[in-house]
């Protein structure tokens, strides 16, 4: 062993000690795993899981309307308020309804595109299309919403274009229609990518077999391809659905006065009304809906497909 390596290793005494320590650690895998996991584990358990637990528990507390303090008395008042108040029911249904509409729209837009990209486009074009799908995904979310706010505005480019061809103008700015368009735009890449992968995975021999058995293009698409890419569609829908359910920025920026989402109520309950228990209770609605949705998705085989 060279002198330099010796010195670099910290002298013979230290080196022996270090050797012994690393040998001990190498033999006891569990010890190393424990040491390595202690920091990230502590972060997630002591901060994140603790926070989620507090959120869940506080949904069953209430705020004293007189003092504004949180009363640690177990009750279901918050949930009752949500179920009994027509406004909150409307908001919950609007959120879920638009999330469903966005999911269906994205699936309809994405399936033909993904089919073309995965099975018809030449290799070079595939790479280009892939980058094009990723660009919006990695452009700031806020920037994309803002762009649509300008596009759909009364004096925006949509109405300008309609005016140029003599079709007058539309007022879709600040409405549920605007939210539907913007959400569909925002989450489209999340729908395209899993469907693209699913189309790629269909073996060419399946299509040949279908053609040999006399099926025409459309029949093959409907009876062979579509069932095989359905899990990809379901996987994509998890994103489009979940991301829409939990949003409140897009409703604030492109929705109208009466376009509140669950997220908006949660946000104002925390920020303005200072009613954390009620916000927590309302936040469990998207959580519950997503839980059920994931169970169904699992049934449909969305996860084996990926």
């Amino acid at each position: 062993m060279s002198v330099r390596a010796e010195v670099a290793a910290g002298g013979p005494g230290l080196r022996t000690a270090r050797r012994r320590a690393s040998a001990a650690l190498f033999r006891r895998g569990w010890l190393r795993a424990t040491l390595l996991l202690s920091a990230p584990g502590a972060w997630f358990v002591l901060i994140y899981l603790a926070a989620l637990a507090i959120l869940f528990v506080s949904a069953f507390w209430r705020v004293d309307s007189f003092t504004g303090n949180i009363v640690h008395a177990w009750n279901l008042d918050n949930f009752k308020t949500i179920v009994d108040t027509p406004t909150y029911r409307t908001i919950a249904f609007r959120t879920i309804g638009i999330a469903a509409a966005v999911t269906i729209t994205d699936a309809l837009l994405a399936i033909p595109f993904a089919y073309f990209a995965a099975r018809l486009a030449p290799k070079k074009l595939q790479t280009l299309l892939f980058v094009i799908v990723l660009v919006p995904l990695w452009t700031s979310y806020l920037v994309r919403v803002y762009a649509w706010r300008l596009i759909l505005a009364q004096d925006g480019i949509v109405n300008w274009a309609l005016g140029q061809v003599g079709l007058g103008s539309v007022s879709i700015a600040y409405s549920n229609w605007a939210m539907w368009i913007v959400f569909s735009y925002l989450w489209l890449p999340f729908m395209i990518l899993p469907i693209w992968v699913a189309f790629e995975r269909v073996p060419a021999s399946f299509l040949e077999a279908s053609a040999d058995l006399g099926a025409r293009g459309w029949t093959t698409f409907r009876r062979v391809l579509l069932p095989m890419v359905l899990p990809g569609v379901v996987a994509g829908s998890i994103f489009t659905f979940s991301l829409t359910l939990g949003d409140f920025i897009t409703p604030t920026l492109v929705g109208g006065a009466g376009s509140d989402f669950i997220g908006n109520v949660v946000y104002s309950s925390v920020g303005i009304a200072n009613n954390v228990p009620f916000a927590a209770a309302f936040a469990t609605v998207p959580l519950l809906v997503m839980g059920i949705y994931l169970l169904v998705a699992r049934r449909l085989g969305a996860f084996e497909a990926l």
């Binding site: 972060w43 073309f116 990695w138 803002y146 762009a147 649509w148 979940s242 949660v266 925390v270």
Partner: protein
């Protein structure tokens, strides 16, 4: 027969072209708006100019928000690289009880709607009487950034032959030397890529941040506030251009650094997220 097949090919090609237009158009348009000389944001623009650039960069509120965002992103990224790589090493090298639970837990902050994570951390800080500060923002960001580093490091480790490590040990390297001269060089680019993605994610985040920032303004919160109130829009346009550049550049580099494991390929990041979210749904 042949005729209809060609027709459907052409139709699909046209459809794909329309989708490409739909995906790119808003981004190209918003870039143009940064050069809008007017302070009214209507179409068509009356010429192009860079007249708002200077006043934007001298806007003290914007500079404070930018500086806060940069600090938050740098600290969150550092924490994410340290904790994410530690978790990846542990999960890669050892089989232990609850190994699947680790992956699930790390991806949870991204899989759950942002509002849940934000609300949870908010009530955590409120009940713990923690004042909102840079620290609370960093805690929120680091929590969802860890998984990007973890995924990248783990993907690289799985592709690295374990014989490399064994050879180093056989040649007399101790644990530290093996780590320093063999493992670290192998995963370095994966860590850098994960770190760049974490930076981009943190720099852009707005939903969780609204719940953990209190009265402070990060750059996205500054943009959000101004758009909502219709204030300083010419300056917002310039900042938006700046943000596009600052988030796309790190992602571009991350993509180049991880061509082998392809973090950004379809099925890699997204699919892992879905799969893990699925396990959680089944357990819930």
């Amino acid at each position: 027969m042949g005729g209809t097949a060609r027709l459907s090919r052409v139709a699909l090609g046209v459809w794909a072209a329309l989708i490409v237009l739909f995906l790119l158009f808003p981004i190209l348009l918003i870039v143009l708006y940064a050069f809008n000389p007017s302070n009214v944001q209507s179409w068509p623009l009356h010429g192009l100019s860079t007249k708002w650039f200077s006043s934007t960069f001298h806007n003290q509120q914007m500079r404070d928000a930018l500086w806060l965002s940069v600090r938050a992103a740098l600290i969150s990224t550092t924490i994410a690289v340290l904790l994410g790589s530690m978790a990846a090493f542990a999960v890669h090298r050892f089989r232990f009880f609850g190994r699947e639970a680790v992956s699930f837990l790390l991806v949870l902050p991204l899989a759950l709607p942002g509002i849940i994570t934000g609300m949870a951390l908010n009530s955590f800080f409120v009940f713990g009487s923690v004042n909102f500060s840079l620290t609370t923002i960093v805690i929120g960001h680091a929590t969802f950034c860890i998984v990007t580093v973890y995924n990248n490091a783990l993907a690289r480790l799985r592709r690295t032959q374990s014989s490399l490590v064994e050879a180093s040990m056989d040649l007399g390297g101790d644990g530290w030397q093996t780590f320093r001269y063999v493992t670290l060089p192998v995963i370095a680019t994966a860590l850098v890529a994960g770190g760049l993605l974490a930076f981009a994610l943190s720099f852009d985040e707005v939903i969780v941040t609204t719940f953990t920032a209190g009265a402070q303004n990060t750059l996205p919160l500054w943009i959000f506030g101004n758009i909502r109130l219709g204030q300083n829009l010419p300056q917002v346009n310039v900042v938006v251009l700046f943000v596009i550049v600052l988030t796309i550049v790190p992602v571009w580099f991350a993509q180049r650094l991880t061509r082998d494991t392809g973090v950004l390929r379809p099925g890699a990041g997204g699919a892992a997220r879905v799969a893990v979210a699925a396990e959680g749904g089944a357990q819930a």
